[in-house]
Symmetry: C2
Subunit: 394 residues, 2 copies
Amino acid sequence: MNAILKYMRPVAVIGIGKTAFGAFPDRDLRSLAVEAIEHALADGNVAPAGVEAFYLGNFAGPSFVGQNHLAPYVGSAAGFESIPCTRIEDACASSGSAFFHAWQNVAAGISDVVVAAGVEKMTSQSTPRVTEILAGAGDMGGEGRAGATFPALFAMIARRHMHQYGTTREQLAAVSVKNHANGAKNPQAHMRKVITLEQALAGKPVAEPLTVYDCSLISDGAAAVVIVPLERAREFTSRFAKVLAVAQTSDHVALDTKADITLFPAVKSAGERAYKMAGLGPKEIDVAELHDCFTIAEIVASEDLGFVEKGNGGPFAAAGCTAIGGPIPINTSGGLKSKGHPVGATGVGQICDIVMQLRGDAGERQVARHHIGLAQNLGGSGATCVVTILEAAK
Amino acid sequence: MNAILKYMRPVAVIGIGKTAFGAFPDRDLRSLAVEAIEHALADGNVAPAGVEAFYLGNFAGPSFVGQNHLAPYVGSAAGFESIPCTRIEDACASSGSAFFHAWQNVAAGISDVVVAAGVEKMTSQSTPRVTEILAGAGDMGGEGRAGATFPALFAMIARRHMHQYGTTREQLAAVSVKNHANGAKNPQAHMRKVITLEQALAGKPVAEPLTVYDCSLISDGAAAVVIVPLERAREFTSRFAKVLAVAQTSDHVALDTKADITLFPAVKSAGERAYKMAGLGPKEIDVAELHDCFTIAEIVASEDLGFVEKGNGGPFAAAGCTAIGGPIPINTSGGLKSKGHPVGATGVGQICDIVMQLRGDAGERQVARHHIGLAQNLGGSGATCVVTILEAAK
């Protein structure tokens, strides 16, 4: 990003829409995506014909459901005619990146009304096949060939974090307990089930030290947002959120190329750029959705984004600092762990969840102070990261 | 695109790079992409550390070679650090769309130095499997389920064009003969083989009326370009090309949803927008690369882009009007038919081929007048189209 960026115009999210996340054997990818888009358009009081560009985040539609060329496939069904319809794939950060590009488009003055959406339909495949498809987000010629699936990669990260900083299994489990507690109160969450620390610790092992309670869910679902220039937001709604910053960064795909696997350089750099663009720091964030594909990932992200000092993310979570009512509530939606993780939908889904908090619409999960929120979307074991900072309408 | 577009800054292509297109059993996807990017960076006198954003067009890496999350996977190997690395999938128009987004990025003033690339590694799969993967660019729940592969879809288009306009098999074959003649002179073409009209007509049938000589090749390959603001182009090279226009549009994916299958509305609208943006018409185009995935597709595109009246594309080609030396030379590279069609690489590859012509570097295939060139990249049976118009440096 060069200096010209400062001349870009402010942007607002005027409409949000999500399907429930879950296992929906009777729904196909397109109907999920269209449902989310229709909700977002209705929420933003925008007609499909008013949309000027469409970005769709999807990780692996061809592998999960055998359909490619997904952007016009979904876009035409949503009523978009002749506009640029573009699918973006950046692993689990696919729709975070779709949002980044939609924001760039409006901020740069190319279009006025743009839709960013994300979708994934995963549950029609067996768990082993899902695991194999997800492994494609890592380096298949290296770590993948050696048999390292994503639970295995994040287990290594957890082990190293434990070794280097004394993080414990109880602290990992505390993240899971919190996210399950939050998700149980979220009517759109995949697994609405309160669990105890004992249950989390006794979970079926997946990749030592991670149990099933440390791993996010395999889900179907979609999410969408409508964005416009801030100066036009009130034409559509009073319930908009201002986009203070969006930053997308990258790093090597293979975990074994990283100097220190207890931190993600892409998360650090995306966070630093986003804070700089927004003109604030982690202390000013009231509520955050972090990419807890595994419990350790939430702990690492909470450190890399500066909510807590490096190495202290475990005790921070275990002390309740990231719970609703804590100094920095993280994953009040339930996170990928309990809300679900339909990979391509996750990034835009997080933004919808933050906007709900900023609007004061989060019901039982509502945080007291909700002026500024942050969403962090991770691809692979840290090769892509998108950080978005949003502010409530004043 | 709204009125603000007129304030976007002019953009130039300063570097181009291509691998040969062909069957390369010893090369992997990443090494092909990196080779093309390195050629483009060297051609533009740009260091990898100077690149601010990276767009990679790829249609089906996960299905062809089992690797996803391709943008940072390729980008980090090319030496790009921390920048946004984004994979774009829009079927066979994936890298045309990558170029469109790279152009938007620079034109809007977000970045100064951006790389757009495309890659596909197809030949490691059997032809039936390739055909199945390619079918994912169509509507798999409709036409795909009915067994219609892409040769079948374009055969229907050809049949209808024959019925409606009197187009003949000889005219289809003439497109093939011309493209083979051009490709035979292109050292980077996949199939360098001159064929006669008799050979083309006697080709093994694929989907009546199309023979193997009407169908593009299954290839491996990559292509890349570097773009910068026009005002900075001379800092890098005197051999730049000015981007006069880029337009991406969309349409329904399923062929059976189209009112008239002898024309592609997305090609027409992308062409109209590009001509308008460039402030010129088809008569001012000196040389064009059109998306001849099948011979009928080149004929239809030559009509939809206004090089010839609707329905007259067949006689126009058969009369030699699209040959080197004709009024509008089309596919002097050999086209997808002879140069090859590594799907994700095709759009940026066409732009490289046009820049070569504008520079006067096309050797035996050089056209006499080469001020303005056009590239047209099609996705599926017309659901995505990107049209780019370039002008030689003055």
